[in-house]
Symmetry: C2
Subunit: 212 residues, 2 copies
Amino acid sequence: MDIALLLFDGLTALDAVGPYEVLWRIPGARVLLVAPEAGMVVTTEGTMALRADRSIDGLARADVLVVPGGFGTRKLESDEKVLAWVKRLDATTTITASVCTGALVLGAAGLLSGKRATTHWALRERLARHGAIVVEDRVVIDGKYASAAGVSAGIDLALLLAARLANETVAKTIQLGIEYDPQPPFDCGSPWKADEAIVKAVRERVGGYAPK
Amino acid sequence: MDIALLLFDGLTALDAVGPYEVLWRIPGARVLLVAPEAGMVVTTEGTMALRADRSIDGLARADVLVVPGGFGTRKLESDEKVLAWVKRLDATTTITASVCTGALVLGAAGLLSGKRATTHWALRERLARHGAIVVEDRVVIDGKYASAAGVSAGIDLALLLAARLANETVAKTIQLGIEYDPQPPFDCGSPWKADEAIVKAVRERVGGYAPK
């Protein structure tokens, strides 16, 4: 089973590595790290760098496609070459998934029209503009399309995908292996739970993604 | 504020990237990616690769040191050069932290003797051999030493460190920014919650770390 994970300049590292850490553990799975050009991609803040083993030109099919997010998706939303590849690959997958603003790339490729989907809480309006039916859940699955909310939600998404691609025992074994028994120190991980001033600060920074 | 994150061949990507994604967001923080040799390090399973910007020889001090885990720590536990560097750097830090089997490296460097600490649940006996007082909590803080349980626990650890290094508002803002409102699909992330057969399977794989 080939799982294509799209890397790109300006991605958020955890968006990609959360799902990666779960998906490579599925027996028989092979995670292919692919980017517009093979080689290094640098993250949003420009310090951490990950290696893409192949270019999108070098990958014509996959069983699963995962598109992570990050401020770099803003550029991808109008990158015709990448969007065409996403559409082509999607035609070969049984599951096409996104984390955070990766949903905006799927949306820009026209894949989420009329589909239920989610993204980072501060950018849901932008996802709706691509024709998606925005759902305020952490993970949303509509047929073969699976989307996760912001950044860390990719771990929850990937465990659900592991159950679907393999079975529940495999997913549970992976969850125990990565000791995913989260204990967030604060109860403020969603805008419904956090203080208003903090919600405002994050919305200004992340929502600044949207064009003026 | 300089935060040194130690990378090495055989690390588990999420052990490093979970804390990274939190710590770089602290205002004024600079995360330095350091490895025994500058250049690429490859993860446990040998597919994902991260770039280390500098070698340990090139870094003499830091405010914070974070050592992630992975099967590669088995080798580091007897790597005199790395252990000597960890000790030297620790003499300059205000916080020295570990994720998963990173605690075994701090232990092998002699830093956890008589200290309360934790590691991946399947390797706690091995940590005790380094003289640590093993505590079965997700994050354990004893003075300047902070340790997290397996893999994903590095996110919880890093948010606590953000509160300590900056303040609670900063930590909460980061938590909301990465939408860390986890909803694990199964309730099996610790050995006390998972089915016996699954615990056995993971213990055999991860516990295989220990020498015969």
